[in-house]
Structures are given as structure tokens and as C-alpha cells.
């Protein structure tokens, strides 16, 4: 950890201006990711602006705008509160499941919703400063490309970076077509569709998201949907809790009779961003909700996977996980 200045923001407008004025300043929310990375010397902010006292914590109905009729959750609300809010449990059980599948009770009590979206990759080459990593140090190379890459990407990676994005919550938000509401340094607000929020690595893996420096996540908007009865978050991991996903699948179906009207599938543990399985989704719409159709959709989606040396299993595991998650969603979450 390097010396830094610490200030406590009391007002969102001041916070964004303060951050924008210093290109090496960082917001501090729950601190469960930023502080760890500072201790490891990965993040080296010159100034830390503590936003944890901002009152952007409400969970409330959305009255106007793109997500009218849905629910908005505050950017600085705690993960635990979002997961357990009665309206979220009732209308967005997928989100509850995904949040509760992540980290541990203690960490979720500290972690904020905005911070969760911006948590950085768990790639070990990113974490150890002596290793090459283009995300941490552009131009230094990718340690994982030809290294130990069992946990790495099978979709959308580049020669520059094969890291995966670790959040569980975000996988559900991608499936739910959420919007990220941000406040800009000039005081304006903008709303970013969730699938445009995170990026693929391309030639600039140092940028995880399309958020500009100085922008503050004020809320996450969840549009209304008809998925609540048929959704499931499946997380496959190396131990039963407190491990990041090998593969996760957020599946949500809207079904009339046995015909699929709408399907949403997002995958975690496979890419630099939450991976919307659009090929599979398209194949399912209008079809019967059967094991065969689930399998066909999974096959089509996974056909495009490009595994690395140690993660070939993710192609088969991803395929099975899509099928299982869809089945579980159909059964209302019961095995």
C-alpha cells in the first residue's frame, strides 16, 4: 500500500467533481475489493474518496424512464440488503440467488451494489505485481494466455487478456436487462444498458467497463419482467461456498403453456464481461421448454467457445450448466 490522501464525501455532486479533478483518485465504497488490491500494490490511488456515507442506498419503485414500473436499487446499498429486500425476493429472485451465491455473509454485509459491479478480475497474474499483466500494466504481456488458465475465459478474449469477470450479481443483472445509472462530473445523469456496461478486453484490457473516470454509480434499475416464477442462478465452483464461479448461469424464462415466450441466459466465469448467451436465447424463443431444446440451445451457444490450455472442461461444463439452469428455472428452482 502506498501513501494516499483520504477524504469523506458527503454529497454525490462534490464526490464526482473531486474524483474527476484527479486522474489517479478512486472512490472507496465497501472497500472489500479496493483495499485488498491496494495491499497487494495492484491499485495505487493517490487519493481515496470515501463515498460510503452517501445516502444512495434506497430500494424503491421506478416511477419514470426506461425501466418504468421496475425497481431501482441504490448504488451504495449493501449487497445483503439488496438480496434480502422483500420486493427483490419476490420480483427478482434471480438477483437474490446470484448475490447470495457470491462471497460470504461478512463480505456481502460490507460490499455495495456499485462496488460489486466494479470489482476487478481474480486472475492471479493480475494480483501478483511481479507477473506480466496487460490489465494491470499495459504492454507487460498476459501471464495467463500461456500460463495457468484453468479459471480463464472461453468467450471474447484477446491475445492481450484472457481474464474473466468475477461478479455473480452482475450475471443476474445482465440476464435481467438492468440499467446502470451514473452521475457525471458535470452533474448530468446517464443510464447505461447493462450489457454495454462491461467491455471485452480487445487491445485495452486495462479498461474493465465503459464508465468514465469521475462517474459515480448512483443506482441500478431493474425493468419489470415476467421471469420471477421461472428463473435460476446456477453456480458451479470448486467448493460449496466462498469460491468464484468456474461457470455460472443466470437463466430466466417466460413460458405460456409449455412454449417459451422469452428467454434470458447470461453466463459468468467465461468472459471478460457477463456473457449473454444470445444464440441460445434466440433458439429457445417460440420453442417448447423441453430437455432436447435446452440441449440444442446449449450446443449452439457453446459451439463458439474458444478454450485455452487448461479450461477445455468449461465448454462441456458450460453446456451442461445451461441445460441444468434452464431445467431448474422451469421447476421454479427445485432439483
Amino acid at each position: 500500500m502506498r501513501p494516499f490522501t483520504y477524504t469523506r464525501a458527503s454529497d454525490p455532486s462534490l464526490a464526482v467533481r473531486e474524483l474527476a479533478a484527479n486522474p489517479t483518485a478512486k472512490f472507496l465504497a465497501g472497500g472489500t475489493n479496493l483495499i485488498d488490491l491496494m495491499k497487494e500494490d495492484v491499485e495505487r490511488p493517490s487519493a481515496v474518496i470515501d463515498i460510503s456515507a452517501l445516502t444512495l442506498t434506497e430500494i424503491k419503485p421506478i416511477a419514470a424512464g426506461t425501466s418504468k414500473g421496475g425497481i431501482s436499487i441504490g448504488g451504495l446499498g449493501k449487497n445483503t440488503d439488496a438480496a434480502n429486500h422483500p420486493s427483490i425476493r419476490q420480483h427478482y429472485p434471480l438477483l437474490t440467488q446470484a448475490i447470495l451465491a457470491g462471497a460470504s455473509g461478512q463480505i456481502r454485509n460490507m460490499a455495495t451494489n456499485g462496488g460489486n459491479l466494479l470489482q476487478r478480475t481474480r486472475c492471479p497474474y493480475f494480483y501478483e505485481v511481479a507477473m506480466p499483466c496487460n490489465k494491470r500494466e499495459p504492454g507487460s504481456g498476459c501471464g495467463a494466455l500461456e500460463g495457468i488458465n484453468r479459471l480463464h475465459a472461453i468467450f471474447g478474449w484477446s491475445e492481450k487478456c484472457v481474464a474473466v469477470y468475477p461478479s455473480d450479481m452482475a450475471i443476474a443483472l445482465a440476464a435481467l436487462d438492468a440499467f446502470v445509472r451514473v452521475k457525471r462530473p458535470n452533474g448530468e445523469e446517464r443510464s447505461i444498458p447493462f450489457t454495454d456496461f462491461h467491455r471485452l478486453p480487445g487491445d485495452t484490457p486495462e479498461q474493465d467497463t465503459n464508465l468514465a473516470h469521475g462517474e459515480l454509480i448512483t443506482a441500478i434499475d431493474l425493468p419489470q419482467n415476467k421471469f420471477a416464477d421461472r428463473s435460476y442462478y446456477l453456480k458451479v465452483r470448486d467448493r460449496a461456498s466462498y469460491a468464484f464461479a468456474l461457470i455460472s448461469v443466470a437463466a430466466a424464462l417466460e413460458v405460456t403453456g409449455n412454449t417459451i415466450v422469452q428467454a434470458r441466459i447470461a453466463m459468468g466465469g467465461v468472459s471478460h464481461k457477463p456473457w449473454r448467451a444470445l444464440t441460445a436465447e434466440k433458439m429457445l424463443v417460440g420453442k417448447e421448454a423441453t430437455a432436447e431444446n435446452f440441449k440444442r440451445a446449449a450446443d449452439a451457444e457453446m459451439a463458439a467457445a474458444k478454450p485455452l490450455e487448461h479450461n477445455k472442461f468449461k465448454v462441456e461444463l458450460g453446456n451442461r450448466s445451461i441445460v441444468l439452469a434452464l431445467q431448474m428455472a422451469m421447476n421454479g428452482g427445485k432439483a
Binding site: G147, V236, R237, R239, A240, S241, F313, L317
Partner: protein
């Protein structure tokens, strides 16, 4: 003697429990030493080669920095003084990734850590030897005589002739001990004497290694370690942090605290090495073993060898006329491997007991029955009679308690919804030894109240040493528990065995018992009277109006114990469910049945066994330290990557002890339980997974990808 005693064998709650849960128990870094400075180590970022230059100028000028110590300015230490793993800042040579190459001492921890980031190092790199898969081919016989090829009969010939056999290679990964309390030291010099507050499983060993390495006399070193936050072998031998803290304290002329970070633990304090184990079994059609060969390939550090004895279980477990055990090893650029819970036995039993399960499957014999058919009457390795051996009772009692009859003999026959269910069994063993240990007993009378203090340089890893010694002394002196005080964990006390290799309980409890008997004898003699029944020490203190009395004993193992082969034995039972889509495994139920002589305290003993079982489940399913062979570094540096089981991974755990009165092993009949709890566990889980899925995984850990 069990019947006479009132406290030994009863489930007394931990004497130190309240101190621990209220934070009053002081661990190494908790000592309120005044005027502390803080040291932070910095480490090499290559695995082989030499340091060309270290630029410390910026760090030295950073705020709060008192000293930067590297090989260029460190005092000369004795590298052969008994500190394991080198890294003593004595030369520019790099032998493994993450070797300590220096330390910063500063006014605060944060200042010291910050300054380590301001140091720049250049190296002359060499290609590291870090790819075990490739290096295994170059492995050669060990330099250690104990690891020479050991054969009885002609195993290879018997294998050639056999119709029924199993020949497979089993792999176990590098594991780390990762005790919850990382290694930490406070060093405080007083003239030319140094006190080292440092977690040490072997108090006197730490004292002697520190003294020799620092080129001073043992009496100039005091080790203080009343509480240890786990060690599992990594605090048995001592590592560079112990003496480097003393070096730092000398250099800045004030007390210094040094604590390793979790990330630093992976290349500072040893590891369990990677092993390939080829096990070959031959048997008659009805399951009588005719040959057992256990051929081990492993690695050491680049200069020093350490081999965990993976063949030990195979030496004594089964009655087999032809046996062969061999070790081959290859140097690698990793920190020196060391003893890790159930050293050799936990890993060796994974190979042997998986192979036994494979043989049972081949022969269509129940795996419990197969083991019973090969139960040896005497120790097959040396012909000695057992001091006691209850493997068969363990298997039978376990089968009954676990509901073994519900197991389907054929694999993949028990499907419940999305899950496949399976049962597995595996045996384990660990030697039982008593080691020389001295102890002082002090009695003090105030009116009719007698207080006893028992002192010895024993160590309590958190397992319950305080509690069992209080029970032992209270019984031997016929005093209530609250009138006994146990003082341990200090090298100023009489020398004692280490809390290692499952010798702690038997060495300490027998020494304390002997000391208490001796003090009673002495008081009796001193009284000059004849008594109809032997009076207690307390009665004598009162009747003879003595206010203070003490005695010391240097307890030794029974000479007659040499005539017997003494080991603890167990049988482990696992029920697993495997998600047939995802390959995720859960151990729903686990039962360990153990025959380990006198169980001094069934409550702490149960915790010990269950703790060992849980690590065994971790070994089976989750734990692995992964090396990137290009750099020789571990990519699994924290608990986010190195997966020990979490609460949710653990189902119902149960422990049963078979009653054994084994006065042949030692006076109190204590055989030890610290290590045996992990032995056989991984095989029981792997065998259950085979029973559930029909898939035999021979490479640990059994992560979901291996079951697709």
C-alpha cells in the same frame, strides 16, 4: 488404571477456552512489548539465479524507515544451524520463487510495507526447475537411508504371475499448511540475550535452532509460545522468520515484530510436496494379497531433500508376503517441503486405500471384507507383536454405525434426482511414540487448600494440551481441576518433546503423571511413616504440614515398549452426493472410527479427529497449490484461490473411539490422535465418488472438471 481415575477419559471443556474466545490468550504478535518496530520481508521474483543488484536507497529514505537489511549487509549467520528452508539473507543466490531477499524495519507496519515497494532488484536469471511433470522422469534414489528400497519376498515376480491385480499411479498436489495464525515473531534483546515470542510446535527445537543460527548459546535464547494458532507441521521445524526478526531487532536496537502475510506463507514455511505414487497389488481370487509394491516419485528443494514417507502405511497395513517400497526424488526450485499433517500417511493412504478399493471392485469382494481378509497378526515389517490393533473392530463398528449395508456394491446404482450417491471406506494408521520429556510439579499449601503447578516446555497447538495435562495432574494428585495450573510453551521450563508426530499427548501426559507419582513417593518418604493405603500428595502436604514442595522428573519411554509395534488405526466412512450435471461433490456424512489407546478427553479428541477429517475432505476435493512452471511461483496465494473447505462443504461429522487399554505402548496407554485423523480420509471420499459415479479419479483434488 482407567477405573481409579476420575478425570482422565471425561469430556472436560477446554481449560483455555474462555481465554481464547474473549481474546485474552496472547499469541505471538499479541505481546505488549514496548517501543516496537516493525519488519516486513520482501521476496525474490525469480525462482533460480542470482541477485545482481538491490537498490535500497529510496526505501532507506522513506518515512519511518529504520533499516533495510539484505544479503549485502546482514550479519553472518550459521546456515546449518537448523533453520529449515534457507532464505537467511546470507548470499545473492536464489533457490526458489519468493525467497526472502531482504526486510525493511520501520516505525510502523505500514511504513515498512510501503518501503518494500520502493526497492528495485535486478537478477541474473536461470531457467527454473519447476515443472514436476517433466522433472519426474529424472528422479533418482534418495540420499536418506530410511528411504532406501525396502523389499520383502519378491513383489515384482509375484505381480508378474498374478491373475488379479491393480497397477495404478495416484497423484497428490502440493498443499500448504495455512494455519489460521500465520507465522509471526517478536524479538526483544536484553544485552546478549534474546526473547523470541514465536509460535513453535517444538519449543526446545526452536531455541536450539535460533541459538545455533545466531551463533549464540541456547541459554541466551528464550522462546515464548503459550498459544499457537495451528501449525500442522509448519511450526515444527523453524523457518527464517524466527531468526531474521532477531537480526532486525539487533540492527535497530529495539524490539521488532515480524508477521508473514497469507500470501507470503506459500513460500516461507514449507509445504506438502507433490507425489506420484504407483501402487501395485496382486491377490488370489478370494482376495488374499500376494504382492504390494508402492513406488513413490517426489521432489525436494533444489539443494536439500525432504521426502514424506508415503510408503509407511503400505509397510504395516496388510498381511502380504511380497512387498516393495521405493522412493525416487528430483530437486526443484521450490521452498523445502516439510512435515504436513499425517506426513506421508495421509498421501500414502490415498494411494494404497484407493488401490484396495479398486482391487475389491475387480474381485467383487466388499471392500471391508477385503481388508479383514488381509489383517496382519503381527507387524509385517518387523515381525513384532502389536501393542494393540483394532482395525477390524473399527471397520465393523463403523459399518454398523454408518449403515454400510445400504451401499450398492456396483457403482452408479444410487441416483436421487440430479444426484448420484455413493459410499466409501478406507483405513488409516499412524505410529504411536512417547518421547523423553521433563516436568516439574510444585505443590503449595495454604491452610488445607493445595495448589499444584505443572511446568514443562510443551506446546499446545490449539488441540487441548492444557486441558489434558490438567486432567492428568488432577487425577494423579487427587485434586480438583481448579487446583491445578499447567504452565507450558516457554523454553525456560523443563525440556519437552514437540507437539509433532502425534507424540505430544503421550509424552506430556506420561511425564506429568510420572512427576505426580514421584512427588507423592517423595512426600511419603519424607514423612517417614507407614500407611495402610497410599495417601495422596495433598494428604501428605497437610498431614506433614508442608507449605511448599516440588520435584522434577525426566520421563522416558518404557524400555519394554521397544518390543512392540505401536500404532493408532482407523476406519473412515464417507457418503457423497455428486451432481451428475456439474460434477460438484458434497460429503453428506463422514464417520471416523479410531483405535488410539486411552482417550484422555473425548471432547477435545473428537474435535481433533473431526478437524483431521475436514482437512482430509479438503485434500480430497479442494486443496491444491498450483505452480506456474515458467516462473516457479504459486498462482494460489490466498484463501480466495487456495480452497480449504468452507462450512457449507461439511455435512454430518461423527467420531467413534474403540476402547483400547494399551499399557504396552506407555504407562497411560495414550497412542495419539493428532495425525491419524487425516489418514485414510481422502481415499474414503474418492472411493465413495467411484461408488457414486463409476469414475475413478486418481489425481487429487477431485474438482468438478474431473467428474464431467
Amino acid at each position: 488404571m482407567q477405573d481409579k481415575n476420575k478425570l482422565i477419559g471425561t469430556p472436560v471443556s477446554r481449560i483455555d477456552g474462555i481465554a481464547k474466545v474473549t481474546g485474552k490468550a496472547a499469541y505471538s504478535t499479541d505481546y505488549p512489548v514496548k517501543n516496537l518496530a516493525y519488519a516486513v520481508l520482501f521476496k525474490s521474483t525469480i525462482a533460480a539465479g542470482n541477485i545482481r543488484s538491490i537498490d535500497t536507497a529510496t526505501a532507506e529514505k522513506a518515512p519511518g524507515v529504520l533499516a533495510v537489511i539484505t544479503h549485502a549487509n546482514a550479519p553472518k549467520l550459521n546456515v546449518d544451524g537448523g533453520i529449515r528452508g534457507g532464505a537467511l539473507l546470507q548470499s545473492p543466490e536464489i533457490e526458489f520463487y519468493g525467497q526472502h531477499i531482504g526486510m525493511v524495519v520501520a516505525e510502523t507496519f505500514e511504513q515498512a510495507r510501503h518501503a518494500t515497494h520502493l526497492i528495485s532488484v535486478t537478477y541474473d536469471k536461470k531457467e527454473p526447475k519447476a515443472d514436476f511433470e517433466k522433472l519426474a522422469k529424472e528422479a533418482v534414489p534418495s540420499r536418506d537411508k530410511e528411504k532406501a528400497d525396502a523389499s520383502r519376498g519378491d513383489a515384482k515376480a509375484a505381480l508378474r504371475e498374478a491373475t488379479y491385480k491393480v497397477e495404478e499411479v495416484y497423484g497428490t498436489p502440493i498443499e500448504h499448511h495455512h494455519p489460521l495464525e500465520p507465522h509471526a515473531t517478536i524479538a526483544e534483546w536484553n544485552g546478549d540475550h534474546v526473547t523470541l515470542y514465536n509460535s513453535s510446535q517444538i519449543v526446545n527445537g526452536a531455541q536450539s535452532a535460533a541459538a545455533k543460527t545466531l551463533n549464540i548459546k541456547p541459554e541466551q535464547v528464550r522462546i515464548v509460545t503459550p498459544y499457537i494458532g495451528g501449525g500442522f507441521g509448519s511450526k515444527g521445524g523453524q523457518w527464517a522468520n524466527l531468526v531474521l526478526t532477531a537480526v532486525a531487532a539487533k540492527q535497530v536496537n529495539r524490539p521488532v515484530k515480524l508477521a508473514l502475510t497469507r500470501q507470503q506463507m506459500v513460500n516461507s514455511v514449507g509445504l506438502r510436496q507433490r507425489n506420484y505414487q504407483k501402487v501395485s497389488l496382486a491377490a488370489t481370487k478370494d482376495g488374499k494379497l500376494t504382492a504390494l509394491a508402492h513406488e513413490i516419485t517426489t521432489h525436494g528443494a533444489i539443494k536439500n531433500e525432504f521426502i514424506e514417507p508415503c510408503g509407511d502405511c503400505s509397510k504395516i497395513m496388510y498381511d502380504v508376503p511380497n512387498s516393495l517400497i521405493t522412493y525416487r526424488t528430483v530437486p526443484m526450485n521450490v521452498i523445502l517441503p516439510t512435515y504436513t499433517r499425517g506426513p506421508g500417511k495421509s498421501t500414502g493412504s490415498f494411494a494404497l486405500e484407493s488401490a484396495m478399493d479398486e482391487l475389491a471392485h475387480t474381485l467383487k469382494i466388499d471392500p471391508i471384507e477385503l481388508r479383514i481378509r488381509n489383517e496382519p497378526e503381527r507387524d509385517p515389517s518387523n515381525g513384532k507383536p502389536w501393542s494393540s490393533r483394532t482395525t477390524v473392530q473399527c471397520l465393523r463398528a463403523g459399518a454398523a454405525a454408518f449403515g454400510w449395508e445400504k451401499r450398492k456394491a456396483e457403482p452408479r446404482q444410487n441416483q436421487q434426482g440430479n444426484y448420484l450417491v455413493g459410499y466409501g471406506v478406507a483405513c488409516g494408521t499412524y505410529p504411536a511414540h512417547q518421547r523423553p520429556t521433563s516436568a516439574i510439579v510444585k505443590l503449595k499449601r495454604t491452610g488445607n487448600d493445595i495448589m499444584a503447578t505443572v511446568e514443562l516446555a510443551a506446546a499446545d497447538l490449539g488441540t487441548g494440551t492444557y486441558t489434558i495435562l490438567t486432567q492428568t495432574a488432577a487425577d494423579a494428585l487427587d485434586l480438583p481441576l481448579r487446583n491445578v495450573k499447567v504452565v507450558i510453551g516457554d523454553s525456560d521450563l523443563p525440556p519437552a518433546a514437540g507437539a509433532v508426530g502425534s507424540v505430544g499427548a503421550s509424552s506430556y501426559a506420561n511425564a506429568v503423571n510420572d512427576a505426580c507419582q514421584k512427588i507423592t513417593d517423595e512426600l511419603l518418604a519424607k514423612s517417614g511413616k507407614q500407611f495402610y493405603a497410599r495417601p495422596t500428595a495433598a494428604q501428605l502436604m497437610r498431614s506433614e504440614k508442608i507449605t511448599d514442595y516440588q520435584t522434577r522428573i525426566d520421563a522416558k519411554p518404557l524400555e519394554s515398549a521397544e518390543e512392540y509395534s505401536a500404532h493408532s488405526f482407523n476406519a473412515n466412512f464417507a457418503e457423497v452426493t455428486v451432481n451428475r450435471f456439474t460434477g460438484m461433490v458434497r460429503v453428506n456424512r463422514f464417520l471416523a472410527v479410531t483405535g488410539a489407546g486411552t482417550i484422555l478427553n473425548p471432547k477435545t479428541a473428537r474435535s481433533q479427529i473431526i478437524g483431521g477429517n475436514i482437512w482430509g475432505i479438503g485434500m480430497a476435493l479442494t486443496e491444491e497449490s498450483v505452480v506456474d512452471p515458467r516462473y516457479g511461483n504459486f498462482v494460489t496465494r490466498s484463501f480466495a484461490d487456495y480452497h480449504v473447505p468452507a462450512n457449507l462443504d461439511i455435512g454430518d461429522m461423527d467420531a467413534i473411539f474403540i476402547r483400547e487399554d494399551d499399557q504396552k505402548a506407555n504407562t497411560l496407554g495414550v497412542k495419539g490422535i493428532g495425525e491419524v485423523g487425516i489418514v485414510g480420509v481422502a481415499a474414503a471420499v474418492a472411493n465413495a465418488i467411484f461408488n457414486a459415479t463409476g469414475k475413478r479419479v486418481r489425481e487429487l483434488p477431485i474438482t468438478p472438471d474431473k467428474l464431467l
